[in-house]
Symmetry: none
Subunit: 216 residues, 4 copies
């Protein structure tokens, strides 16, 4: 929660969020419910309790609003994953990975709309590839770091990094999406473990692998 947008909230002592944030909140909610294109700026403004014109004072265009929202969410997600960074000395890479996974998944479950929004943009042709790259390198840099670490230790398969990153990203999104759709299953460790194991095992390097399969 560190890099929270602190735009000099004009609300002074009051706890009411700034109009800008109200707009972002309203937008997120509506985008997820109805889709991005299907949501009119006027509707966002109404839901946020401001005038139509006000929206365009804070965001140059609808497109800019979408990108600001996207960036804010990615930032919050990274913050959440890094919130209580595990001691670097932690010798167990898996446990470390699980720590990040739990933090990120926990945040996702607490902010289902944010996750769904990310998902919506993921496959959109309007997706800003450059923005995505930035987010990954600036915010979620710990993911490639861990992968390299594990690979160097011989624990993880030495797979192409960019492919692996893409697969991890998609795996996380799919898992989070699943648990958001079935909230009661997010409380059962069977399901939670299974999702993480699926990812982790997929990354592992197994000398015994072939034997196991052939001698089934």
């Amino acid at each position: 929660m560190t890099s929270q947008t602190m735009t000099a909230d004009p609300g002074l002592g009051k706890n009411r969020p700034s109009k800008k944030q109200q707009i972002l909140d309203a937008a997120l909610n509506l985008f997820v419910q109805q889709g991005i294109e299907a949501t009119a700026t006027a509707q966002i403004a109404k839901r946020a309790g401001v005038a139509t014109g006000t929206l365009f004072h804070h965001f140059a265009s609808k497109e800019a609003l979408i990108q600001a929202l996207y960036w804010q969410i990615k930032q919050q997600l990274a913050d959440a994953a890094l919130a209580a960074e595990p001691s670097k000395e932690e010798d167990d890479l898996k446990r470390q990975a699980r720590h990040y996974w739990d933090c990120a998944l926990g945040w996702a479950l607490a902010h289902p709309d944010a996750l769904k929004f990310i998902g919506q943009l993921y496959h959109s042709p309007a997706r800003d590839e450059h923005l995505e790259q930035q987010a990954m390198t600036q915010l979620l840099h710990f993911v490639p770091r861990m992968l390299e670490q594990g690979s160097a230790l011989g624990l993880l398969r030495s797979a192409p990094m960019d492919l692996t990153l893409a697969l991890c990203h998609s795996h996380f999104l799919a898992s989070a999406h699943y648990f958001i759709l079935h909230p009661q299953k997010a409380t059962q460790s069977t399901y939670l473990d299974s999702a993480f194991e699926h990812l982790w095992n997929g990354l592992l390097h197994f000398p015994l692998h072939e034997e196991l399969v052939l001698s089934h």
Copy 2:
């Protein structure tokens, strides 16, 4: 197994596809390039070489067109995966899985637009969950069948089926997407193997697992 839509093409001897198919083709192309919402029905019709009204003669609405397109693609994908069904006697489950994987991935690479379209719809709030279920059970029934088989053999982890299915689906989509974006990598077995291994290993059941990790 060819459930190809054979709508008694009125072109008879001529090889020209039916207007309905022309519309579907044009729609797919434009949807992927510009996004679904950003594509006007009039533009689809023009690209298809028919009148605006013709589109609505064949599809009740833009929404119906989208669903018809989705269904057709899923059907073709299933057909492709089942095209040369491996001998049932095949004792190696992994090889069998790889066979399906290669067929499906091959089709995806040959039809990048179709894949991208599926991806676009995947996270859309307009997504018809019911249709998705139908597609999975009617067309891609071989996936759950294999998972159960492997689980019964003790080869695969006994994970919740619905979660596993969702993760496999997303993994396939992400992989295909990656190779479509980087076509030259789709010719290198390093990459191709890596993508499949990631999925397969994630599914495996390892008695030795914990030991391996702890004794790294």
Copy 3:
């Protein structure tokens, strides 16, 4: 029922009405339910159980269909009123008028859609004034005849004929409409008498009139 459209019904011995008549029937029904403009020719054809093209074989245009329908209905209404023409010797003009009124109203109640259709066209700017005149003079000539007769006898006020005709026409339409909307009231003579008396008294010529009012 004399001038029924006898278009050489190709149905031969069968009792099924000709396609042309089926179209007219379907059109009437839909026009009344949804409005004329709101009813598509394709819908009429479907309801009539014929192809879209067939409609345009029998009627040059939608407009022509409407006019044909209008004419047919006016004809049937006139036929109904004249069905059992009272003996000319009938000395009581009021009884004679009531006879026509009852016949016409009876037909209207038996054909509510027909009446509503006439009503719809009554105030339409698309109304063909010429056609209306023709209908009045050719089919309902007995109305002006009676008015003149009554006026000559000194029984009816000598009011301008065209104004009186318009008022009678509108009175009949309004009455019929009322009884169609409230069918159970069409069985009570209180209501039926009241509607007719209202018209008839309005036409009467009263030397005693002013006195009655002033000395109330």
Copy 4:
């Protein structure tokens, strides 16, 4: 009693009517000339000198515009009839009725389009029966009041109220329509008197009635 829509005309000192009123005026004019269905919203906007969107800023739909227009006209008509309410002490009910009649007819002749519009809607299947009821009870309440009064005095026939109301309404519409079509006749008292007498006599109660007819 002037329930005129006084929507705080933003024109301030300027005499230019609000855009909303401009739209209503343009709509009335075009509806009457071409018919309601035959008039495009874009055409209304153009005639009103505003953008297409502006129309839908003030009225949710074409349907809503029609209803707003209808309501405004009924209001103005009621205002006109009640403009110079006759002294309550007026002992002659007929003279009182004639007063209302003249006021209403005068307004109708001064606003022929308004009258024609009412007429068009009168028989439309799109007619909102509920709105009609409201208009009658809220705006034109003096009509049923007079009828009851006259009936209590024994002057008017004790006919069913709702039927009588419908007949009076239709009679007024037909009369107004007639005079609008033949404006020069609206200056001759022969015609004006005749129209009113027709209505009034139709309402009267005549003990001598039968005798008069039988002894013609």
